[in-house]
């Protein structure tokens, strides 16, 4: 059988490799293996095996663009799995659009997606607009405050890269609008793990809640420093990195009560099965937010092909725009190319993350609990 060739260009080296290797690559592997084990991808009435053609974009837009070109014109792949990160997705969008492939983005989001989607109607945004994710924590805090459980004082920090800025851009106005008092606010450069001064200053401002729109290395560093310096707040929120299984392992009991960006329905058996498979096939644990989303993006591609019955790009785009897909994160339906049903906040509890807040119609959220004081060790 003629295999279906699926191209992927994402980071294996460079600054974005850490994220891509944790979230994107393993799921591609898992998915490909699963599909092929099941006999292949159903294209019309044929079952065709899938073949992954992968390139490293070295975390650079130049390389990413060239890779997409290669995939489209040299390898002439049937489908493309888009790169990791907002920036590279935006940079490759024009080219992917030129060749007409659907671009189902699972690891990127931005605020002005509406415009973007108009320009490139073949792009689909699983994580929804940045706003939803950024504001989730604000809603959670608001609920807690309105219930009289926490005070009004919030410290908020962000990593100054594309992701952090998109987040703070809506997160901060949302906090203000919700009537919070921002007692400390700062940004720090990407890659900075020496965040003791950040936590010290935050602590000096004596906040009730701490929000970090952060990235993996600094997520860990901020948490470690908060614990060391005993920044005891009732709500402690970190972003990308907090969702990694390694976060729970690294901080153990201290992670209990930490709020993270995104989440899952941990009690959903579909998710639990997915987690098991992920570990078995890739040898590494799925995380508690992005992994299933990345996996879902592949399921969407798969189902779109099955629904359409061919690899016709235009038809696929149409199908993704209008169809509904059953995935590990539930049923997905894009509205104007954007998925509006997303987990936005999760919370660690004994090595597991439970979603505590979501947008749209997602079910299974658990009520957030207040963070206990950091255990002393």
């Amino acid at each position: 059988q003629d295999p279906v060739r699926i191209g992927v260009s994402a980071s294996k080296t460079g600054p974005l490799a850490g994220g891509a290797s944790g979230v994107l690559w393993p799921n591609i592997k898992l998915w490909a293996e699963k599909v092929n084990k099941a006999g292949g991808l159903k294209v019309g009435d044929q079952m065709r095996p899938i073949e992954i053609v992968e390139y490293d974009d070295k975390s650079s837009p130049e390389e990413a663009v060239k890779n997409i070109q290669r995939l489209a014109t040299q390898d002439q792949v049937d489908l493309i799995i888009p790169p990791y990160s907002t920036g590279l997705n935006l940079a490759t969008a024009p080219l992917i659009a030129k060749y007409g492939y659907p671009q189902v983005v699972s690891t990127g989001n931005a605020n002005d997606l509406d415009q973007f989607v108009k320009r490139w109607p073949n792009t689909f945004w699983l994580l929804g607009p940045a706003q939803g994710i950024a504001d989730g924590i604000v809603g959670t805090l608001k609920d807690l405050r309105d219930a009289g459980k926490i005070g009004n004082r919030v410290a908020v920090v962000n990593v100054s890269d594309a992701f952090g800025l998109e987040m703070i851009k809506t997160g901060k106005p949302a906090l203000k609008q919700a009537g919070f008092d921002i007692v400390y606010e700062t940004s720090y450069p990407l890659g900075n793990q020496d965040v003791a001064p950040v936590i010290a200053s935050a602590k000096a401002a004596n906040p009730d809640a701490f929000i970090a729109y952060s990235y993996p290395p600094d997520t860990f560093a901020l948490t470690e420093q908060a614990q060391l310096q005993k920044l005891d707040v009732k709500a402690f929120f970190v972003s990308v990195g907090g969702n990694l299984d390694g976060y729970g392992k690294r901080f153990g009991a201290a992670a209990n009560g930490v709020l993270i960006m995104g989440g899952v329905n941990a009690s959903d058996p579909v998710f639990q099965a997915y987690r098991k498979e992920h570990l078995a096939v890739t040898g590494q644990e799925a995380d508690w937010w992005a992994s299933p989303v990345a996996y879902a993006s592949l399921e969407i591609l798969q189902q779109a092909v099955e629904h359409v019955g061919s690899l016709d790009k235009q038809a696929l785009n149409k199908e993704i725009q209008s169809g509904t897909f059953k995935t590990v994160i539930g049923d997905i339906h894009f509205e104007n190319n954007i998925n509006n049903n997303n987990w936005t906040v999760g919370q660690w509890s004994d090595g597991v993350v439970h979603g505590v807040r979501a947008t749209g119609n997602i079910q299974g959220a658990q009520p957030p609990v207040l963070k206990p004081a950091w255990p002393s060790n």
């Binding site: 992968e54 837009p61 070109q69 290669r70 014109t73 935006l90 320009r119």
Partner: protein, 322 residues
């Protein structure tokens, strides 16, 4: 001075070659064109880099800084000004930055200059990030144009030609002689009356302006400009590596490095996406040991050997001053 015949020939051949290359987009598109854009990009930058670093032996890692300045010249003003004006802004910005840096680094030599220039790209990247964070609201700037790869390719080709012609003119001028003297011995240069400071600064500005233009031309390809990408230090390193690989003693030296390097790298990353780093590392080591003098050096040694056999010239014991 009248122009020696062989130089005229070379010039003619170069222009003819460029004219032929201009037809490339008509025969191929897609991947090969993309690859050619990358090649042309580095051809322009590396040659521009070698204009300064070749004769002065001062290894500049500021390419990323100039490139980023060019990219941002476009990103900031794309919505308000026509593209040619943006190129002009890039020229001015690049030259200005180079002049400032040139003036600041007059006293630096050798490795101090290297690291200073490395820091420069980082510094600019950080400042842009900070400004965007605090005043811009978003970190990325969209650059939407109607340029296709073909347009980018033509612009880069034109830039490369301009760089070459400029380089050729410089080599034939007082400026070029002054540079060679400085590269040989700066103290001697000063004492024979060369204004070493001015010479260095002018040349750095020329080189920087060209690299900035390359950045400006590439901005539409990036589409979404972030400081990390625009001021990526890897750019600086790649430029140096390719130029050194080719050899910087001739104007066309860097070009000889760029083409095989880009093609080989691409081959490796295309065929061994998971072992790219290992293979690239090994390939690199191999190159260093097999081609100690850069490709042009190797070619020249070949030529020299032939010539010296022909005319039975005695082998010189000259050690090329690097």
């Amino acid at each position: 001075m009248n122009i020696p015949r062989n130089e005229l020939l070379a010039l003619g051949a170069g222009l003819a070659g460029a004219a032929v290359l201009a037809f490339l987009p008509l025969v191929t598109e897609g991947f090969w064109l993309s690859l050619s854009v990358n090649i042309m990009l580095y051809a322009a930058i590396c040659t521009a880099w070698a204009l300064f670093s070749g004769p002065t032996y001062l290894v500049s890692l500021a390419s990323a800084a100039f490139f980023g300045v060019g990219t941002y010249s476009v990103a900031i003003f794309i919505d308000v000004l026509p593209f040619p004006a943006l190129i002009l802004i890039a020229v001015v910005a690049g030259a200005l930055l180079a002049t400032l840096v040139g003036l600041a680094t007059l006293r630096l030599s050798g490795v101090y200059f290297v690291i200073f220039t490395l820091g420069l790209a980082e510094l600019l990247g950080q400042i842009v990030t900070w400004v965007q964070t605090n005043f811009g609201g978003t970190i990325g700037l969209y650059v939407f144009t109607d340029f296709t790869e073909t347009h980018l390719y033509w612009m880069l080709l034109a830039l490369t030609v301009v760089v070459f012609v400029t380089g050729w003119l410089i080599n034939r001028s007082r400026l070029g002689l002054a540079l060679r003297i400085i590269g040989n011995d700066e103290a001697v240069a000063r004492h024979v009356g060369v204004d070493t400071a001015r010479t260095r600064v002018i040349l750095f500005a020329v080189s920087g302006a060209f690299i900035a233009v390359a950045g400006a031309i590439m901005a539409p390809r990036y589409g979404y400009i972030t400081p990390d990408a625009a001021f990526n230090p890897m750019t600086s390193f790649l430029v140096v590596i390719m130029a050194l690989l080719g050899g910087t003693r001739r104007l066309w030296g860097p070009l000889v490095g760029v083409v095989p390097f880009t093609v080989v790298m691409d081959f490796i990353s295309g065929h061994f996406p998971n072992q790219t780093a290992v293979i690239m590392g090994l390939a690199f080591l191999a190159i260093v040991y097999v081609l100690p003098d850069g490709v042009t050096g190797q070619l020249e040694t070949l030529f020299r050997r032939r010539r010296s056999i022909d005319k039975s010239l005695p082998a010189t014991t000259a050690e090329e001053g690097r």
